[in-house]
């Protein structure tokens, strides 16, 4: 099939206007020896066939629609109100591009400004951009800002080992060309250990909140200690956890970044997601990416526009600190619609459902012989379980029973064999949790 509207007669007419008899003459500047290669691709399909093909592929996957899922580790199965998808399917939103022409892009611009505002509300920060590719790249970009703040004099970056392992890998990818040291993410990495690593060469310390093991920690003392040494505190926060817990802006974070996927964005096998990035006012001119500001038009009417543009790569070129161009615009719209629907009370309710269900599941599992959960530290919707067998075995048995089990921590934390990270959200019913507990009990 084809999405090209041209009729044969139109093609001839258009070629004639150009003064040509055939398509091929349009390409005479292409080296003749390499011109017009055949492409070895499967034959074209009709729309009916495409729909059938995509359905067949989708059915080859075990997904959260058919299975009870207890896996999180940076990507979460949450309830998404129907309205979110309907708004994303407005062609006026999803088939527009970057709002370079603000007069005919006020929809995208205002929605983005509202997104920025609601991210400030959640994080307790002064400003947010819109946006980075995902939580991992927003952390990598936060490091660039921290290095810039020290005018690249401070060369040390401390990452907690309790930051998502893949985020730490991405940080190393991003900064491999720079003369800096990234430490802290090997070993035990308690908060007090991080504080001991601080010195006058440290540009920043990053921690995750809740940390990768699900625990919520009191970060006030860490913030004070980092600031006393002249560095920045970067917090990687699950935005949904901020429905309940103290926002990082309140305990002194300088930059808050993270994965916006829990805010109305489906799992989709890892992307597109939403890297959010929020910052204190005094640092706002250092940040990369798109920022929308309020202004007025020629008649004095309130309107929105991309602002602080001279930071961006298309203007600053080799002196820009980031090459980001495309953002996650539609995903930030999803978050804006989601947060508008949830509002102050709905989001708290979702947060509490996560908290209570996760605590219920943890307590039930902790009672089983051979399994243990550290119930002394508060957690949000994920917790670590020490299990009596390798996690791969347990997950295989769970899958047979229609349950997608937790994340195998031994994949990245070699000192945690037989440890599973379990996630429970508002989507998990008590019956699902009880079934999980029953199956685990049989796998001692």
């Amino acid at each position: 099939m084809s999405y090209i509207p041209h009729t044969a007669a139109e093609v001839q007419e258009m070629l004639a206007q150009i003064g040509l008899g055939s398509f091929d003459e349009l390409f005479d500047a292409v080296p003749a020896g390499q011109r017009f290669p055949a492409l070895d691709l499967p034959p074209a399909m009709s729309e009916m066939e495409i729909a059938a093909e995509m359905l067949a592929i989708s059915e080859e996957n075990d997904h959260a629609g058919d299975f009870a899922i207890f896996r999180g580790a940076g990507a979460y199965h949450h309830f998404i109100p129907s309205v979110v998808n309907h708004m994303l399917l407005r062609g006026e939103f999803y088939t527009a591009y970057t709002p370079y022409q603000p007069e005919i892009s006020q929809g995208t611009l205002q929605a983005t400004y509202e997104y920025q505002s609601m991210m400030c509300a959640l994080t307790g920060m002064d400003a947010a951009n819109a946006s980075h590719y995902d939580g991992a790249t927003s952390l990598a970009e936060a490091i660039t800002v921290a290095l810039e703040v020290s005018r690249n004099r401070r060369k040390k970056v401390i990452l907690s080992h309790a930051i998502h392992p893949q985020y730490r890998e991405v940080v190393r990818t991003y900064h491999q060309g720079k003369d800096i040291r990234i430490i802290g993410d090997r070993g035990r990495g308690e908060l007090v250990d991080l504080m001991e690593m601080l010195d006058s060469n440290t540009a920043m310390v990053a921690v995750q909140y809740p940390n990768f093991f699900g625990q919520i920690e009191d970060l006030r003392r860490l913030a004070d200690t980092v600031h006393a040494s002249g560095g920045l505190l970067v917090v990687v926060a699950n935005p949904l956890a901020l429905s309940l817990f103290t926002p990082p802006g309140e305990f002194g974070a300088d930059i808050v970044v993270g994965e916006g996927q829990p805010l109305g964005i489906p799992l989709t096998f890892g992307g597109p997601y939403l890297g959010y990035f929020a910052i204190k006012q005094r640092l706002v001119r250092k940040i990369a990416g798109r920022i929308i500001g309020e202004t007025v038009d020629a008649d004095g009417k309130r309107a929105y526009v991309m602002t602080l543009r001279p930071r961006e790569q298309d203007i600053k070129r080799e002196r820009a600190t980031s090459n980001i161009c495309t953002n996650q615009g539609l995903m930030s719209l999803a978050a804006a619609v989601y947060l508008s629907l949830m509002g102050k009370n709905g989001l708290r309710q979702v947060g509490e459902l996560n908290y209570h269900k996760a605590n219920y599941a943890a307590a039930q599992i902790n009672r089983l012989d051979g399994y243990s959960v550290d119930m002394t530290k508060p957690f949000f919707n994920e917790f670590m379980v020490a299990c009596p067998r390798p996690i791969a075995e347990i997950n295989a048995a769970l899958l047979d029973a229609g349950v997608i089990g937790g994340y195998d921590l031994a994949q990245h934390y070699y000192h945690l064999p037989n440890h599973m990270l379990i996630c429970v959200t508002e989507c998990n019913t008590r019956a699902e949790i009880d079934r999980l507990v029953d199956i685990l009990e049989g796998l001692r």
Binding site: E59, P102, Q106, G107, P272, T307
Partner: protein
């Protein structure tokens, strides 16, 4: 009337969702760790719907009109692909699913990797880059590591033509390398003398590579492309192709066969995944054998499991797919494995066309651009209309016109763009490429009809006449849009980035 800010629609106690009651006993909350206030708006469901629908109506979009934004390839985004993206087996699939639980998704990614490789003539492709800019970043990091591994860490210069996208030089800096800018010659082509100079003497051993856009950002096929590639490679540099303009090349030429070592694809341009008001994009990167071990990971590998062995093991016969981290990978570019939601749309798009169909896409994209350019000849200055040798020259899928007139001195490209809004069209890209003063970069794409192109040409011609006769119309434009021209200086001077109601009480 302006649409109120969502906070202005808030009424204490209202809510836009229905959530289930808790079905587990409550656990005590750690009060010392809780927040006091959550300054989010409180709005009903219908009010939220109306708010965002009204906002959407303030946007211009492909679904509402021709969007000739040069370098962005604003083609039709097929609706069936949107349906596919929402199938539960794709939308609700966890990225850390065990490989046995996501064979469908892995197969799709594997096929897309191999199709993109076939389309561009590369040996291996990674789908992980989240956008074109990340594909560029991956490419330059691979080139850097390649030289380091060969014992040539002094190779730290990337040559970049002055007509390049801004992402190119920004990428080089991000990767810790240096940019050396190359001027264009009088025909808008790479200046071979300047390139020879850059690739000679002491400088030659510092050349890590060169980034080129093809067709160039002027929309022109580089006539000496083969010489450029040979020259850079002869001094040990690698060639990177910015694939933003791939819509002009499908089944016309394979960059890998021309000699490029690496390129990125913009799935949201060439392969029709929606632009989403700024993103998400998807920027797969392809390489030849020199660089394949350096690809960002993970990529998808297919195990050639014989049917009889799998039957013996009780599995269905066929292939088995799994993740693989390339041996010398530059690493992960994002968490998980790329923007899968974009991969599946690009997969469906390529499936719709097949090889010959993609050639027709390129033919019609180039036909539309050349047709529109001819319709504007005489009314607008068409820079670089001839090769250095003086021959007539066709454009690729886009072209530049000069958005200014000698006999209308006060009129700028921006005025023409704004006036085009009043005629019902999205403006072209303004002031890019930088080497053409007052540039308007126009890219109609293949999904527009001749009739629509005729209307756009008519509007541009009428504006050219107005520029002389009634220039004030252009300066005052747009007059029909939801808002008039904005005070951008005020926005930057008095930063107002967050609604006051969103700050803690």
């Amino acid at each position: 009337m302006s649409e109120p800010i969502i906070y202005d629609l808030s009424t204490p106690g209202r809510s836009g969702v229905n959530l289930p009651a808790p079905d587990v006993p409550p656990a005590p909350l750690p009060t010392e760790l809780l927040r006091d206030d959550l300054p989010l708006p409180e709005v009903g469901e219908l009010q939220v719907v109306r708010h965002f629908v009204r906002l959407s109506q303030l946007n211009y979009s492909i679904d509402t009109g021709l969007y000739p934004l040069g370098s962005c390839t604003m083609k039709y985004n097929p609706k069936v692909n949107e349906d596919a993206a929402r199938l539960p087996g794709l939308a609700q699939l966890h990225p850390l699913a065990d490989p046995e639980s996501c064979q469908g998704a892995l197969m799709l990614m594997h096929e897309l990797q191999s199709w993109l490789g076939e389309i561009s003539g590369f040996d291996a492709v990674s789908l992980t880059p989240a956008a074109g800019a990340q594909g560029e970043f991956a490419g330059i990091l691979m080139i850097r590591q390649y030289h380091i591994d060969r014992g040539e860490p002094q190779r730290d210069i990337i040559l970049v033509p002055d007509s390049a996208h801004g992402t190119n030089p920004a990428t080089v800096t991000m990767a810790g390398l240096r940019v050396q800018q190359l001027p264009a010659n009088a025909a808008g082509e790479v200046d071979l003398a300047a390139l020879r100079e850059a690739c000679s003497g002491e400088n030659a051993q510092h050349i890590a590579g060169m980034m080129m856009t093809m067709p160039s950002t002027l929309g022109l096929f580089e006539p000496s492309i083969v010489q450029v590639i040979e020259l850079v490679q002869s001094v040990g540099g690698l060639m990177y192709m910015d694939g933003a303009n791939m819509n002009a090349l499908m089944a016309v030429v394979k960059p890998g066969e021309l000699g490029f070592d690496c390129m990125h694809y913009n799935l949201h341009k060439t392969f029709s995944t929606p632009h989403g008001g700024g993103g998400p994009g998807s920027g797969a990167v392809g390489v030849n054998d020199k660089l394949r071990d350096y690809l960002p990971g993970p990529v998808v590998r297919r195990d050639d499991r014989p049917a009889d062995a799998s039957a013996a093991a009780g599995d269905a016969p066929g292939w088995r797919y799994d993740w693989q981290m390339p041996a010398k990978s530059i690493g992960r570019l994002k968490a998980f494995a790329g923007n899968f939601g974009m991969h599946l749309r690009a997969y469906a798009y390529i499936r719709a066309y097949g090889g010959e169909g993609l050639r027709q896409v390129t033919r019609c994209a180039v036909l539309n651009a050349n047709y529109l350019r001819e319709k504007l000849r005489g009314d607008y200055n068409l820079p670089y209309d001839q090769t250095a040798a003086g021959a007539r020259r066709y454009c690729g899928h886009e072209f530049v016109v000069r958005g200014a007139f000698d006999d209308a001195p006060g009129v700028h490209a921006l005025d023409i763009s704004k006036r085009l809004i009043d005629y019902g069209f999205h403006p072209p890209t303004n002031y890019f490429p930088l080497i053409v003063p007052e540039a308007l970069l126009i890219e109609p794409t293949e999904t527009e009809t001749k009739d629509d192109l005729d209307e756009l040409a008519e509007a541009l011609r009428a504006i050219a006449k107005e520029a002389r006769d009634e220039p004030q119309l252009l300066h005052d434009a747009p007059s029909t849009a939801p808002v008039r021209r904005l005070d951008e200086a005020k926005a930057a001077r008095q930063l107002h980035l967050c609604c006051p109601a969103a700050r803690p009480a």
